[in-house]
């Protein structure tokens, strides 16, 4: 439940900066304030400005959960998504300047030149995802909508004054909660989808982090056209609308019949702890919803009760080919044309939306770090390569990969020494380089006063905040040293962005 500060000056405030997007400050106890981020003082306090107060107010950093800047919209998004991924989870966008045995040097638009110890770099991606990034988030709540079988066109607005995340009214569907850069499902019920419309190209990579507690049962709709069966007249199916809504709330957990009502003509991947099923859902012209299972080629997942996994779906809607990766490992592939009956009109996905729905009771879920990119159509089987002892270079053509040791970057070329000789790659040819796991430093727990700056469209950098103003923050990174980070491309300052995802499940996050 979100509580609001009850200090007097807060009560007087109504509308803030109607023309310019305001910043949002959330506290660890659930309180929140709109206003303008003014910086961080050397006394380790966050300075916050509101029109209804004479001077900026200082808040203790340890009481702050995060600050969403400009409603999640950057002043100037980063032009380049080339980046390095660090062992500690940071993703630092920039162009590579140098690479040797000890150090990788990056030129960044937000912090200038950064020198990073090589053993802290797990991956370098000059051309990540093998295609063009279309979306990274969620940073902006308004870009998403919720739908339920009882409210397929969208959930009704929460009534003024109602507890915004009170999810467990027996006659009301639960709601997803947006916080920071993630969507949280913490209702005890199930069946409400969080949907992003018009966001998925025909050949798409959809990647996201999925964290859960208890038994996992989540469905992901993609290439969805969100077509819905026409609303029936009262009495047509033996009940009036309120009765139908109550029935819609009464779906059995895991019931696939709900899926076409949420996603229309779509592919829907159901992921359970030990199993997964791909459905083709459809809504006929007369409104009849159907669900068909698509044959799988691959193994099932092994996900326990409570965990976290990075899911990547690579799909070609027009060819009916879908590949699934988890934590970078190939898991399964579906091919609609397999078996000889090639009929694209029967392929499931008809649209360009995607969404998520939890399908069992008391199964909290967090969806974050969602990325959508155009896919070059290659299944990238190279992604399942072992990387314990060897660096792996994956090329942008989606098929070729080279193992060995990345020796250097000079004259715009990457030099790799492999079992079969020396190879030289131009940066444009390389999608990703994954560094040998056994050459990496051990991941350490982030300190309690760690600050994570989220960048748009992609990237995050962390460190201990020292000082700063509304435009930049000085922080000390255990990896990169002292960094002056421009906030032009930042969308969120996360003061409690621990890598331990369980922290995010605090009831009053």
């Amino acid at each position: 439940m979100i509580r609001y500060l009850t200090i007097p000056w807060m009560l007087a405030a109504s509308v803030l900066m109607a023309d310019e997007p305001s910043d949002l400050l959330r506290f660890t106890n659930g309180d929140q304030l709109h206003g303008t981020f003014q910086g961080i003082s050397e006394r380790q306090q966050l300075m916050w400005q509101r029109d209804d107060v004479a001077a900026p107010v200082d808040f203790k950093l340890e009481q702050i959960r995060h600050v969403v800047l400009r409603e999640g919209r950057p002043v100037k998004p980063l032009a380049d998504i080339s980046h390095v991924a660090l062992v500690n989870g940071d993703r630092i966008p920039g162009k590579i300047l140098e690479l040797d045995d000890q150090t990788i040097t990056m030129d960044t638009a937000f912090a200038g030149v950064l020198r990073i110890p090589r053993d802290q770099v797990a991956m370098f991606a000059p051309n990540p995802l093998g295609g063009r990034l279309r979306y990274h988030g969620p940073f902006i709540e308004d870009e998403w909508k919720m739908a339920h079988a009882a409210f397929p066109e969208g959930m009704p607005d929460v009534e003024e004054g109602a507890e915004s995340d009170e999810n467990d009214e027996p006659d009301q569907p639960g709601r997803w909660t947006f916080s920071g850069s993630g969507w949280y499902w913490k209702s005890k019920s199930y069946g409400t989808a969080i949907i992003r419309e018009n966001a998925l190209p025909d050949r798409a990579i959809l990647r996201f982090d999925l964290a859960w507690r208890n038994r996992l049962s989540v469905a992901i709709g993609f290439h969805s056209d969100l077509a819905h069966p026409p609303e029936k007249e009262d009495g047509e199916d033996g009940g009036d609308k309120p009765v139908r809504n109550r029935r819609a709330l009464g779906f059995v957990p895991g019931d696939s019949a709900i899926l076409p009502k949420l996603f229309g003509n779509s592919y829907v991947l159901q992921i359970f702890s030990m199993q997964m099923i791909l459905y083709r859902t459809s809504v006929a012209d007369d409104g009849t919803p159907t669900v068909e299972r698509v044959q799988i080629n691959g193994s099932g997942p092994r996900l326990g009760d409570t965990g976290k996994v990075t899911v990547e779906i690579r799909s070609n809607r027009t060819a009916g080919v879908i590949s699934l990766f988890m934590n970078g490992d190939f898991v399964a592939q579906w091919d609609e044309s397999a078996g000889g009956d090639y009929d694209p009109s029967r392929f499931g996905g008809k649209g360009n939306s995607f969404g998520f729905v939890v399908q069992t009771e008391s199964s909290p879920v967090k969806i974050s770090d969602i990325m959508v990119a155009e896919w070059n159509g290659m299944p990238d089987s190279a992604r399942s390569m072992e990387t314990e002892d060897q660096d792996i270079a994956l090329l942008t053509n989606g098929t070729d990969r080279f193992s060995g040791k990345v020796e250097s970057f000079r004259d715009g070329k990457i030099q790799l020494s492999g079992k079969y000789g020396q190879f030289v790659f131009g940066l444009d040819d390389v999608a990703e380089i994954r560094f040998a796991r056994n050459s990496l430093a051990k991941e350490t727990e982030a300190p309690a006063d760690n600050l994570v700056v989220q960048l748009s469209p992609l990237g995050q950098i962390s460190g201990r905040p020292v000082s700063g103003d509304a435009k930049s923050i000085r922080m000390v990174s255990p990896v990169c040293g002292s960094i002056d980070t421009s906030l032009e491309s930042a969308v969120m300052l996360d003061f409690h962005g621990s890598n331990n995802f369980i922290d995010d499940w605090d009831a009053e996050f």
Binding site: R302, G377, N397, T399, D400, K419, Y420, F423, V424, F425
Partner: protein, 449 residues
């Protein structure tokens, strides 16, 4: 194309095996009709000529009348080549690669002789297809399986098999990798009662153990996971196939155990039956194999042909990869590297056959031993033209996984003469042909697999 030394192979056959034994070919006709006899020819119009004891004259069967022909399985003993050549039209031929230059691939096959194949007719080559590293093969003695084992007294060893007369336990430890294949044959006199443990740590006197076991009883076959935690027993595979479905009281069991992916695949009599996922968090790490026979005295049970192999599906996985840019050659190594460029040649060398490959990212050509290579994809350009498609043709099934589209065929005692759309006229040792399947005219799809 030439197949140059088939007469030599054929001569060897005659010298070593004498005249081929009389073999009954079985023709499947429309519905459940069938005829047995000896195929003499299939003419260009598709008429099948069958020599049958039922008729004084050869029976001429109209085109479309015959759906499938099965030839009697050939005797073992021929060492199959470890390469599998895929043609541009999808045909396959098990072959030993001799050499490759800019225009032609030369391969050897015991049934077709040496072939020279235009490079433009090639789609891919997989190497080491039939190479499976054997880790154990037995049983070779009674002591090997019964040393220091309680319940060993009821075993008897003869003719390379263990026979139990009464309750008996046999144990053997074999160092196996994370992924292995476990094969054995079970035989029973009255009713099967077997439990076979694998990936067993062989911990003495412990009730808490992590292992898998297969149970075969009158109610069916089950593969289960026994765990030191809870739940103690969990199902991996359940099959309701009871002993009635094995009328010879015998079954060949193959378990493909993938501990890395926590999956087990079960094959019975060479056919895939089911796959299951280990539901436990971790997989058993043991290397013990245990056979338990629970039949009472008088109802003997046998275990034979125990083989443990390395489970390596690398080649199948590589071959199923996306082709990528068809204008360049691609090579995939056994280590999973994949390179695009130009395959300049293949030639014999002291250390084995060597591939010379020009990568797009290297100035000097790569020299790769065939044993380091898993798969080659050959480039195709518009200049190579359309792949010819035979209308109204047959698929000739060859041993070693081969299958060739052919039109007219003639059969002698020793050879099959056929016309292949890419290779032209060719002769194949008759014993190497295991079946033929008729293609529907205008539809390149098997009528009956």
């Amino acid at each position: 194309m030439r197949n140059s030394n088939l007469p030599l192979y054929a001569g060897l056959l005659v010298l070593t095996a004498g005249a081929p034994a009389s073999r009954a070919d079985e023709l499947s006709l429309a519905g459940d009709a069938r005829l047995t006899g000896k195929i003499r020819s299939i003419n260009p119009d598709g008429v099948v000529e069958l020599e049958s004891k039922l008729s004084p004259e050869p029976v001429l069967l109209k085109p479309d009348a015959v759906r499938k022909i099965s030839f009697e399985a050939p005797a073992d003993g021929v060492k199959l080549p470890e390469g599998l050549v895929e043609f541009a039209n999808g045909d396959l031929l098990a072959a030993r690669v001799v050499n490759l230059d800019g225009k032609t691939l030369k391969v050897g096959n015991p049934d077709t002789g040496d072939l020279e194949i235009p490079r433009t007719a090639l789609k891919s080559i997989q190497f080491g297809v039939h190479r499976q590293k054997a880790i154990y093969s037995g049983p070779v003695s009674l002591e090997e399986w019964t040393k220091d084992v309680e319940g060993a007294k009821n075993w008897r060893f003869s003719k390379d098999r263990l026979t139990a007369n009464g309750p008996a336990v046999a144990i053997h430890k074999v160092d196996v990798p994370e992924r292995f294949v476990f094969k054995f044959t079970l035989k029973w006199k009255t009713s099967p009662s077997f439990t076979v443990y694998f990936a067993d740590p062989l911990t003495p006197n412990s009730e808490k153990v992590d292992r898998y076991f297969l149970q075969f009883s009158p109610s069916g076959i089950e593969v289960k996971r026994e765990s030191s935690g809870t739940p103690k027993i969990q199902n991996v595979i359940l099959l309701t196939r009871g002993p009635d479905e094995f009328p010879s009281n015998q079954v060949d069991v193959e378990l493909r155990v993938d501990r890395k992916a926590s999956k087990i695949h079960l094959y019975l009599n060479g056919e895939p039956e089911a796959s299951g996922v280990d539901p436990a968090e971790d997989t058993p790490e043991g290397s013990g194999f245990v056979f338990v026979s629970s039949s009472p005295t008088g109802s003997t049970q046998e275990i034979s042909d125990i083989r443990i192999l390395d489970f390596d599906d690398t080649r199948a996985r590589h071959h199923s990869e996306e082709r990528g840019d068809p204008k360049v050659d691609s090579v995939i190594s056994r280590d999973d590297d994949r390179w695009s460029g130009h395959l300049a040649g293949i030639h014999p060398h002291n250390d084995g056959t060597v591939l010379t490959f020009m990568s797009d990212f290297q100035e000097e050509p790569l020299e790769l031993l065939e044993s380091d290579v898993s798969t080659i994809f050959f480039s195709r350009s518009a200049d190579d033209g359309e792949t010819p498609v035979e209308q109204d043709s047959w698929i000739l099934k060859l041993r070693g996984g081969g299958s060739l589209h052919v039109g007219a065929c003639t059969f002698s005692e020793v050879t099959v003469s056929a016309s292949h759309p890419l290779l032209g006229a060719m002769e194949i040792r008759r014993e190497g042909v295991i079946g033929m399947v008729r293609l529907k005219p205008g539809n390149d799809q098997e009528d009956d697999k």
